[in-house]
Symmetry: C2
Subunit: 422 residues, 2 copies
């Protein structure tokens, strides 16, 4: 038997088990799913020391391999990570079960009664990078929404993920769910991923989480539907009619509150009518916070000591304390700029002009558009949805924060009294 | 310049024009879209003779090429096709515009107001086979839902599609929509399709319509999301507690009313407790209608002169007057059989037992499940949604009939008063 046949067999067996588990999960009562999630939370707490020990093996290997400090930090399981994982699991218990929700109900003239009912998607494969806490978070959201999940974490976190997934599996099984409700791919060969991404018979949806390159590769290889969480090149446009202190606090928050995330602002657009009064003051505040500004000629005419932005800076996701700055002639130019350079993620306007705001909200084609609020609010928790699996940049199924309902689909349940079609 | 560079340039230019048209369409008022659809309907009627003439060229070429009568029949544009196309266009005018619908609206404790609003998907590529009326139907549904559409019809229908798409374009443009709201791919090279299916920058969704092989190929090649309309292997399960005359009319309807469509029944499952009384009578009725029965040993024990079903018959989409017949021990066996051999499309139970029915409706995982009604009702028109673009067998975005709302997605519109994230 060749290795590639072995790998195919290994992945298929996982798929088959996931499919069988999915049909049990689809009909599992909320109480059983919640019981499993609680047991999983308790197990993470109880087994903290063995998780940390397994993680130490990964951390040492990473250090030996010369992996950088920031990746090792994301890889680390600490007391705090343990607490966050168990809190995350408990939080999902408190969220409403989406399965069975009636999305619509109507009668037809021939007497048929039609109900549109939420059901799980089925089997979801998650492909992600270093952070082992994704293992617990993704398992919780998939299980609560009635889906079986196949997890494929980063190679650097393999020991941690094996320890974690096994204890989660045991806890779920003891609480009455199928063990295969969650399964980890324990083989590290690259080939595993391409087998997984073409296992259409057993997998219904693939969700990659990580860098742009990983996501693009998954989307290219996969013959299974993929929901993508690409980058956020987010803008704040400060309109002529903006309240300047409000604009100041929104721009600051959007840029510096957490610069390394997808809903942080990467570019500031300022209406030329207020640029002379607003730009010097916001530039000073941003620089106090350590932000490097890269401006167009219009911006540099007002604040000459900022760097000149190059073409590469427009549309760049810096994920850092860097901000591209541009003075625009009017809102037309702002909207056209965002359409050209943005990533349709999160964009904001600051203005007191209701008509201008409404136009911006309508014409800017992003997963979330904000009027007088920070782009940082594009988030499942901030929107009140509870935990999220990511912020989708796709234009089908789910757009913006993906929480429990976004991990479901629906079916039509039709009740008749002998109707036939003419 | 090589041909492949030319083709790439040709397809990209179409994509670019579609994207530009999409941003106009996204904000087009309902009245303008309806005006365009009416103008398109009038134009189809007025230009009927030139459409029929263009179609004659295709029909003659098809005959010369030895293409079979059934394909040529689907290819033909007759007075009746003209009427159906123009009626189809007018019907879409009468449907509610999904764009702008508020799907949800809530306030956050910090005062943010969140609205979830329907918006178009963007640019949709339709890839389909011989029937030229799909050109008009797909254009109408995409335009009404605010999407630009790129059409790639079958090579056999090229002359017809060129004539049709040009007159539809002219009518739409005269009514104030961008000409590129609909565009036909006029080049016939296979290469065009692979360029189209990887044009991620300009196309948001691909919908193939046609045989299983076409759909599978599109799903394999495409790096753009695809919504698939695969086959329907639909079942009617006649339970022990069924009203037998109701069961008779439902089985007959599901099988013979239109056997060549995806929601027609392909297999009949009968509870062994009523098989002796029900099977002879339904077999006689089905045979009167010309249906060939292929039974398992249990069915043949009761009606010995039916053909023996082979393994290939279970799960087969006959699309013809053929029905697989099986006697099952109980509902468990029926549900397990449907899970194994069905295609999750449309499945029905006939029973007077409410508890049995509810279990069947819950556990059978199909886009539509029916209790005491024919599977033939799984249809956009029959569900009251108006025209449909197909019946999705996918498990994300849209499942079952895809009408106007299923051609949209949403965005979040957030209104604040200076909120920033802590």
């Amino acid at each position: 038997m060749t290795t590639s046949t072995q790998i195919k067999g290994y992945v298929e067996e996982i798929g088959r088990r996931a499919r069988a588990a999915a049909s049990v999960l689809a009909n599992a009562p909320t109480s059983v799913k919640n019981g499993a999630l609680l047991a999983m939370a308790q197990s993470v707490e109880k087994e903290a020391s063995s998780l940390i020990a397994a993680n130490r093996v990964d951390l040492q290997a990473a250090e030996k391999a010369g992996i950088g400090a920031s990746v090792r930090q994301r890889l680390a399981i600490t007391e705090k990570t343990i607490r966050e994982m168990s809190e995350g699991l408990r939080q999902v218990v408190s969220l409403a079960d989406p399965v069975g929700e009636v999305l619509g109900e109507w009668d037809r003239p021939n007497g048929l009664k039609i109900r549109k009912v939420r059901v799980p998607i089925g089997v979801i494969a998650m492909i992600y990078e270093a952070r082992p806490n994704v293992t617990a978070d993704a398992a919780a959201l998939c299980i609560k929404s009635g889906n079986a999940v196949i997890l494929r974490g980063g190679r650097e976190a393999l020991n941690s993920n094996i320890a974690l997934s096994r204890l989660l599996q045991r806890a779920a099984a003891n609480a009455g769910l199928p063990e295969a409700a969650l399964q980890l791919i324990e083989r590290v060969e690259h080939r595993v991923v391409s087998e997984l991404l073409t296992l259409n018979a057993y997998i219904d949806l693939v969700i990659p989480r990580g860098g742009e390159e990983l996501i693009r590769k998954v989307a290219e290889i996969s013959t299974i539907p993929v929901i993508k969480h690409y980058k956020g090149v987010c803008h704040v446009y400060v309109d002529m009619a903006a309240d300047l202190s409000m604009a100041e606090s929104i721009v600051l928050n959007a840029k510096v509150q957490k610069p390394a995330v997808c809903n942080a602002a990467e570019a500031l657009l300022i209406h030329e009518g207020i640029a002379r009064s607003f730009l010097p003051r916001i530039a000073a505040r941003l620089r106090e916070k350590g932000v490097e500004l890269r401006g167009d000629p219009g911006a540099r005419a007002i604040v000459p000591d900022m760097k000149t932005a190059t073409e590469k800076d427009w549309g760049c996701e810096f994920l850092d304390l860097i901000l591209a700055v541009r003075v625009v002639k009017d809102m037309d130019e702002a909207i056209a700029y965002i359409a050209r350079y943005g990533s349709h993620h999160s964009d904001a306007i600051v203005t007191s002009d209701k008509i201008a705001a409404e136009r911006f909200l309508r014409e800017v084609d992003s997963s979330a558009v904000f009027w007088n609020a920070s782009t940082r609010f594009n988030d499942g928790g901030q929107f009140g949805m509870g935990a999220e699996i990511g912020i989708s940049t796709d234009r089908i199924h789910a757009r913006g924060p993906m929480a429990l309902p976004e991990l479901t689909i629906y079916k039509y349940v039709v009740t008749g009294s002998g109707q036939v079609r003419e």
